[in-house]
Amino acid sequence: MIRAATLAFWSHWRRHPVQLLTLVLGIALATGLWSAVQAINAEARASYARAAAQLGADKFDRLSRSDGKPMSVAEYLTLRRAGWQVAAVLQGTLRVDGASVTLTGIDLVAAPDLPAIAEASADSRIAPLDALTAPGLLFANADLARALGDRPDLPPVIETALVPPRRILTDIGTAEAVLNSTGQISYLLVLPDQPMGRPPLTEIAPDLTQEAARGTQDITRLTDSFHLNLTAFGLLSFVVGLFIVHGTVGLSFEQRRPLIRTLRALGLPMRLLMRLILTELLLLALLGGVIGLALGYLVAAALLPDVAATLRGLYGAPAEGSVSLRPIWLVSGLGMAVAGTLLASAQTLWRLSRLPILAAPGKHRWSARPRAMRNQLLIGLAIVATGIVTFAVADGLIAGFALMAGCLLGAALALPPALAGLLVLGKQMARGPLAEWIVADMRTQLPGLSLALMALLLALAANIGVGTMVASFRLTFDGWLDQRLTSTYYVTARDDAQGTELANWLAPRSDAVLPIRSAEITTGTYPLFVYGIVDHDSYRRHWPLIAADADVWDRVMTGQAALINEQMARRDGLWPGSTVSLAPGWEMVVAGVYSDYGNPTGQAIVALDRLLAHFPDVPNTRFGVHLPADRAEQQAEALRAAFDLPPGAVIMQQGLKAQSRAIFEKTFLVTGALNVLTLGVAGFAILTSLLTLWSQRLPQLAPVWALGLTRSGLAWLELLRAVTLAAMTALLAVPLGLVLAWLLLSVINVAAFGWQLPMYLFPFDWVKLFALALLTAAIAAALPMLRLRRLPPAQLLKVFANEN
């Protein structure tokens, strides 16, 4: 019985191969983009974990001074002599090719089992002692190792994949020499296997406090928002894919209702029937899931290098750019495929399970029922209201995402009623029988196309929202670059001595030579860079202040106040008038806040003499040089020749801006790609809806054909209808997209990155997107249209057949 019933039940797919393909592809698309995002997230998180594990340092507790000052060697020795198994760490920043990299020096005698150094030494066949004896060894990944290889002032570099990007690992002795910080210790690592009976910390080093192992916490916290953004995109695509599945499953069971009635009349129990259906759905979900995983792997592999670049650029997170197959990813991807398919089919299965045995084969409901429409509108508005209330009572990223999800989901649900309302207006304005029929017919098409149109709305709104955010960011960023990079060119010396020589050489040849000097201070959980500047008109005229007291520059330059970046201001709630602690025992009044896009860390600016008063040893190796642009290249060449500077030591302003813009564009390449993919999925949803509804359209079209319209004319009208519905959806997507853009710029960005951006409107982009939406709909409708044009009259005549 089971075999016969299965064969009868599954014969449906033989007669409807396009429907089968649609269903499998719907599951595959839903799973594919979701899995791609999950693979990217998993890979990035694995990179952080790998970095922490290989470095070893983050898995140990730390000891540091409670006042934040560097520790002395004496304190280190006291602890060692008292039996504490600790290893000293000196951490600092090194400029390499114009960018900061973190150099971590660890006492390798005290912590000899550091995995990264042990394995890299073994791989490179280096004696462990070489890392300890002068000139020492630096361990860095391939890219950084190549850049460091050009620096004759540094010890030899061992290339190893085990050290994360933009980090250098070395012995503390080597670090002291490289960072010019002899005798300083940033913190101590508390090693495992501490002896019993060692004296408590409060007795032997009361100034020190023990901090629990940080693991990958900091990076995870920093990058969570980025991964949440990606997950939101993945979820959006997943939902759009499920729309396709929901529509196709619904139609397939609607068409099989006569068969189901017959099977039940022949004695097949409903329970067995439901088991057959579930088995069928499970098999299709697994098939779609496997295809989706393959798609997801390809998409992840294509996007991961850019994602890794973004994570490194925005957060300094040690992400790598290659994807590997993980069993948990495979299992969760298939799980999502199965769960999504069952979720999308639940309503249909529920109805089917309650179907009376002699229920007549259902006709597709063509008229948009006003009551159902009204209820759907109310539910949509209630979901939007829930999002608003959540946002009002909660704070931060989750509240922002709740509001975003509420707006998107609520608006999607409200779309069909809104379109129905517009069509009622259209019907009143329509003149002529064809126009009236077209508008009335579009209204009857709404229930069948609503899911696809909802998918299109979400995709378009995401495009407008993210597009507006990126374009606003780009515009702000360009202006900001012009404000921040005012020097004609920038030069980096090898060391302080050469820095002094450079400054002396440049002074008579330039309009101004502005030193760029900074100290890195670790306060609490994040690093702070304090810059010292000299008074110059370019700062006063151009610096991108977003909030400032009166006489801000006079107060800063006379040492009475400091400027801080926006990230720090928002994170710590510090605005003009507040007091900021720059270092232990050094507090200053905040006189202004400036925008500092792309910087993951806190930053403050003080007068140079104030910085030197607290940190007399900050390197004096970087300078911004002001002179007329037409003399810049010539002078830079002369400078390189006079001091034998490597190519990367002199960077022209235009080059730096171009480099920054390139990094910016790369950062948003991923969101752009996901935007296009989501729109593609929505277009596919329209295509599948039109194809699956094809057989039910003929009874609507045949009478009009019989009354004197050509098949070709009807086909064009079908295309017109699809494009018109897409156009109406696109128009409604504009306000929704702008709400989304505002949320991204003013809520999500602030919570995730710490900066707020002004919102600019780009109507020309909307026009382009509008055209793209119409094109998407036209492409999706083209196949059904061609099919109708070429349909033999005999097929249409079947609609009028009397003998059933």
Partner: protein
């Protein structure tokens, strides 16, 4: 039983033989001539073989026959809904052989009207819109005529309703009204009462015949029922794709 158009005469002047019941002969202007038409669907057996009928202006003719005898196909060919393999159809002086897809559509829109067994109303339009649809499509909407039809069909009270809100009899009356509103030269009806009970069928047929007579429209009606067929001017019987 049925007059066969003389291929030697042109359609406007051809003579038809009328043999229904009385074997009377009349000389009339032929509106429709179906001349030795054959039709075979791809991969199937021939549906029509050498079928010939003719119909004069204002005349009514019933087509009867078994299921699958080709009567609906013949109706569809006359309506220019489908093409034929051999023979010739001439309607109102126009040979179908000269018509492309647009010409066929124009013919259906302007000069013939159809009533189907399944009503085939446009579900998204109200009764009033359905009634006027064909006439407006043809650019010949006459509100006074439509109002008269509406009144005669007893549909005045349901003009704002949608087809799904009507009974089968009412829907068929709307279909007849839609067809007659265009004042067609030829009304083609395919089992118009096949979906109705006896009482409703009789009422619908009465109304249709009344309107046909009122407007001087010719009628070609496909039916299984001999009693319905007998109410028309002439009868033709199809068997195995041939006019018997």
């Amino acid at each position: 039983m049925v007059a066969i158009g003389d291929p030697g005469l042109d359609s406007a002047a051809c003579h038809a033989m009328f043999a229904s019941g009385s074997n009377r002969k009349k000389r009339r202007t032929m509106l429709l001539t179906v001349d030795h038409v054959s039709k075979t669907y791809p991969g199937g057996r021939p549906v029509l073989r050498d079928a010939s009928i003719s119909l004069a202006q204002g005349e009514s003719l019933s087509l009867t026959g078994e299921s699958g005898s080709g009567k609906s196909t013949l109706l569809h060919l006359v309506a220019a809904l489908d093409g034929f393999d051999a023979g010739e159809i001439t309607f109102d002086g126009t040979s179908y052989a000269t018509l492309d897809d647009s010409g066929r559509a124009a013919l259906r829109r302007d000069r013939v009207a159809l009533v189907f067994q399944q009503f085939n109303l446009i579900p998204s339009l109200t009764v009033a819109q359905n009634l006027a649809f064909h006439a407006r499509l043809a650019g010949r909407h006459d509100p006074a005529w439509t109002t008269e039809i509406t009144g005669r069909l007893g549909l005045s009270g349901v003009l704002g309703h949608y087809p799904e809100q009507l009974s089968g009899g009412q829907q068929q009356r709307v279909a007849i009204g839609r067809a007659m509103s265009v004042r067609p030269k030829l009304l083609l009806a395919d089992e118009p009462t096949g979906n109705l009970d006896e009482v409703a069928a009789s009422a619908v047929l009465d109304l249709m015949l009344e309107l046909v007579r009122l407007s001087g429209t010719a009628l070609l009606l496909v039916t299984h029922s001999q009693s319905i067929a007998s109410r028309l001017d002439r009868q033709a019987h199809l068997s195995g794709g041939r006019v018997a």
